[in-house]
């Protein structure tokens, strides 16, 4: 299919034009270009998807050979299969809606053009990431989205805190990326190629299940995935990354970029299947992350931070799915999560937009009647997030939990953990809804969302509700767990847990049956709340272990310790000069004496040598 190259080209071109305009482009045109290019891409994706759904044929396109040294010949080439189609659809589809939303959200910002330039660049990079036929090109997209994330988090550059958040996002993910980089080197060195399909074939033929090399390689790739997808232990950047504009959070830090890690593992699933320990690690990391983030989300005040932790937690579910071998379920959850989390972020953005950039949920309240569209969007999004029955989140999360259950050995443990997470999800998501939209009003909204914002919200509401019924074209592309024979008890527990969570949230935050205040005031409660609020003190830990030592080292070395050596040489020369020059007294008698000394010296050397 020759139109494949148009898909990333539209946003790329648009980004280039926006950059070249140097901010002088009229807003209307910039908006048209920014959102329109993504829309065009979405149309192209739809065409590609239609073809694929019709014939199930993998589509490939090679543009040019990137570089050729010996047998190292990565190409700029695309590989489109079901997985790619799903990802592309999410990126362009959700991406278009968010662009549309952004037009209104950022209309008054002085850097309107710059915003759309970054956003389009991001979409292009993300598309490259998922369309890449080899890991190097994937890495290009991978780093590209990282850079765009950096640019967008730090979009409001005047506040140094935003800059710090952006840097943190980039550097922390870069740690993971470097592991992935080494993974690529290892794969190339051992298997001689980075083209994904030949690579899988080579791995399958050269390596046995459980060999050291595939474990090492997948562990390194997992490092990259963990970094990008904000999983333990590299998750700390995502909550801070909320410093960016809210649509950015919706697009990058909820719907697309952060799920790149999931995509990476799914894309290389054959490799991971060769390395069961890594796969187990994926599952455990996912579980640990989803629980940790769930608890943390309970204690947050900032509406976006709550959503950020919930994102971390939901990606934990995806990792769990991957880890237990339910790759398709993981991708399914990826898609539904993209819908409902984008919806939630956009709704939150609408709240923030209408409330003079207020982020603290305790200064909101009672918005149910004042912002009805937003309220319903948020409600639907939360329901899907909490996996209430028949929402999209329900289907995907249920599939993950059941897949975990069916895994022999550790499966039930993972299932139980996931269930606890589901309970937490129910609690924190409805805590948010109840506090923000019910109760007393603390701040009055000064405006209502316009048609672009509302439109995007409504479409996403629909998707969040019906997304669970989509049949993804992943059969044959990704393996999945068969969980048809799970007992009904397990299924009921899975369905019931989110409802329990909803009930608890109602009791705690709306029903006034149990005083949450007194619970929080007790010493244990307070300590626990602080502990959760700080994200389990992990940031502080990293600061003490890594950031401060690095800064100290840099400060200590600042004045070039190596120069001490050269300065010592200089000092030595100066000292010698000083000593020698004292001999130059100008006294004739001393000069005559020196003649005698010299003579005696020569005589001594000669006579000693002669004897």
């Amino acid at each position: 299919m020759t139109t494949l190259w148009l898909i990333p080209l539209f946003p790329l071109l648009s980004a280039t034009l926006l950059v070249l305009s140097a901010g002088r482009m009229p807003r209307q045109l910039a908006a048209l270009l920014g959102a329109g290019s993504v829309g065009l891409s979405a149309i192209c994706v739809a065409l590609v998807a239609r073809t694929y759904l019709a014939d199930g044929q993998v589509q490939e396109l090679t543009l040019w050979t990137w570089m050729a040294v010996d047998n190292f010949t990565p190409r700029i080439a695309f590989y489109i299969d079901g997985l790619t189609v799903v990802m592309m659809s999410v990126i362009t589809g959700v991406g278009f809606l968010i662009h549309l939303y952004s037009i209104e959200f950022l209309w008054d910002d002085e850097s309107f053009c710059r915003y759309f330039a970054y956003m389009n660049l991001f979409v292009a990079a993300m598309l490259l990431l998922v369309m890449a036929d080899n890991l190097l090109l994937l890495y290009l997209g991978w780093e590209g989205v990282g850079a765009c994330s950096y640019l967008l988090v730090g979009f409001w550059y005047r506040d140094p805190d935003n800059g710090a958040a952006a840097r943190k996002a980039f550097v922390v993910t870069r740690v993971g990326d470097t592991a992935m980089f080494l993974g690529l080197l290892l794969l190339y060195t051992e298997l001689g190629t980075l083209d994904i399909q030949p690579l899988m074939a080579a791995a399958n033929s050269q390596w046995q299940v459980g060999d050291t090399l595939p474990i090492l390689a997948t562990a390194l790739l997992l490092g990259g995935a963990v970094g990008k997808s904000a999983q333990l232990p590299l998750h700390t950047w995502l909550p801070d990354a909320m410093a960016g504009p809210t649509p950015v959070s919706a697009l990058i830090h909820a719907a697309t970029m952060v799920t790149a890690g999931v995509y990476l593992i799914a894309r290389n699933y054959e490799l991971f299947l060769l390395a069961p320990p890594t796969l187990a690690a994926v599952a455990w990391i996912g579980l640990a992350t989803l629980l940790l983030a769930g608890f943390t989300a309970l204690a947050q005040h900032d509406i976006k931070r709550i959503l950020a932790y919930s994102t971390i937690s939901q990606i934990g579910y995806m990792f769990l799915a991957l880890g237990v071998g339910a790759f398709a379920s993981g991708i399914f959850h990826l898609m539904t999560h993209a819908f409902f989390k984008a919806l939630l972020f956009l709704a939150a953005g609408a709240v923030i937009h209408c409330l003079h950039h207020e982020h603290n949920i305790f200064r909101m309240g009672g918005l149910r009647r004042r912002l009805p569209v937003v309220f319903w969007s948020f409600l639907i999004g939360s329901a899907a997030l909490a996996a209430l029955p028949f929402t999209s989140g329900f289907y995907s999360k249920d599939a993950i939990l059941l897949s975990a259950w069916t895994l022999p050995g550790i499966g039930p443990w993972l299932w139980a953990g996931g269930l606890l997470g589901a309970l937490l999800t129910g609690i924190y998501s409805f805590r948010l809804v109840f506090i923000v939209f019910f109760g007393e009003a603390h701040t009055e909204p000064d405006q209502q969302p316009g048609w672009r914002m509302s439109g995007a919200l409504i479409v996403l509401c629909v998707l969040s509700l019906v997304g669970g019924w989509f049949a993804l074209p992943l059969a044959g592309v990704l393996p999945d767990k068969d969980h048809a024979h799970v007992s009904h008890a397990v299924e009921f527990i899975s369905i019931g847990t989110p409802l329990l969570g909803l009930l608890i949230a109602y009791l705690l935050f709306l029903g006034r049956q149990v005083s949450i205040a007194s619970l929080a005031e007790s010493p244990w409660g307070k300590a626990l709340q602080d502990f959760w609020y700080s994200g389990w003190r992990i940031d502080k830990l990293y600061d003490a272990l890594l950031v401060q030592p690095f800064k100290c080292l840099a400060h200590w070395w600042r004045n070039e310790p190596v120069d001490l050596f050269y300065n010592a040489l200089v000092a030595l020369s100066r000292w010698a000069h000083g000593r020698l020059i004292t001999l130059q007294t100008g006294e004739l008698r001393w000069y005559a004496t020196s003649l005698v000394f010299g003579l005696v010296l020569l005589l001594a050397i000669m006579l000693r040598n002669a004897s």
């Binding site: 040294v69 005047r158 506040d159 952006a166 980089f181 080197l185 070039e560």
Partner: protein, 512 residues
Amino acid sequence: MSMVVLIGLLLVGGIAAWQLERIDANLPRWVALATVTLALLYLVSVIAEIPAESFKLTPDPGDGDSWLLHLKLAWIPRFGISLELAMDGLSLLLVILTLLLGLIAIASSWSEIDFKPGLFQANLLWTLAGVCGVFLAMDLFLFFTFWEVMLIPMYLLIAIWGHENRSYAAMKFFIFTQVSGLLMLLSIVILAWQGVATGGELSFSYFDLLGLHLDGRLAWIAMLGFFLAFTVKLPGFPFHTWLPDAHTQAPTAGSVLLAGILLKTGAYGLLRFCIPLFPEISMQFAPVAMGLGVAGVIYGAVLAFAQSDFKRLVAYSSVSHMGFVLLGLYAWNNLALQGAIMQMVAHGVSTAALFMMAGALQQRLHTRDMTRMGGLWQQAPRMGACAMFFAVASLGLPGLGNFVAEFLVLAGLFAVHPGFTAVAALGLITAAIYALWMMQQTFQGAPDEQRQMDDFHGREMLAMVAMILALLWLGLYPQPVLDLAQPVLDGLHGVVTPGEHLAQTMTAGTGQ
């Protein structure tokens, strides 16, 4: 003869620029621009005459006649010294880079110099001539001559047109390079006389000395002489300390030349002379050299982060980047070598751009201290965008030239020494830390509303756009560069045993 014309053109252009200052102070820069453009056009015309298939043939490192161009004129027969110039793909690549960055340097100093502009441009052109000579000379004596001669105008550029602490910086620069240069001269002479000892005529020609066998300690001394000279220039850890000072104090054009091309002469020397002339010893020495490379990568990056002076930061980033070159060269396999060559080119462009940026900032704000900047994006968005581009280029963003280079180097190195690769890869993280910190301190943050600052003008923008396009091209389609260098590397592989056989040569060496 064409190579002599090329170098001569630059020399004469320098004299013309110097003298024409008397007529009009604006004339020298036009003369300089015209000279370099003319040299570039001349080079293109010379290349055009070489049949295209010659570029694909593998030049025999030991026989100049199989190279693209070769010229040998008698000079000092007493010592078997001749005016021997030769060009292969590698030299051609570097000469083109030199001339292009020469244009950038002239553009970057267009309005900066008001004291004796004629002599300034003359020194600029003479430096270019010296560097071109270094890349083309195939007689070791001639090579050494060019090697030293490019230093004098550079010294003058720093010492006359430099900033507040120029005396110290210029002196440090000169002493470091000169002392190490003398060591290299010693090695050259040792090598030549070893040729006599093994029954040949006294000759300083590279083609005669290649493949000469030196024994034991003498070979080590001679190799180390070359290595030191080139590593100081590269600069490799721990011989780099002249670089931050020289860069900080040099005028913009000086920094651009220094970072863009003078550092490359060190890498070129290692690749062309040090390793092929002493293949076994160099391969035994490789772990040490790679260790220095890794140390440079990390050390440079940490120190770059610690700086508050914009130019110093960029200078330390150069130390870090050139560490990759050292790694690539001593890993000595095709991937790593191609990576090292790519790094020479890409780093030349990206760092030149950053120094130009530093110069532009200094010209506008009269300071290089980043603690006194901040929020400049508001006043100068074009500068900010360019700075951002080159910052992410320098941290190795894929799609730009530096990434291709670093990836190839590390990919090649991984096959030889995974441990070093892992440590060197940490440099990717630290690079992100300092590059972004630089952006934060300069262009981001709260702007000073009182400050008046011009954005880039058309001329500066033109230079920047050219370099942006160059980096994109290098990052997305580096094949022309790789193809140009590949035959040369093929030839060199015949001379030097690759790094994979390191262990074997070492056991063979101790067995003797």
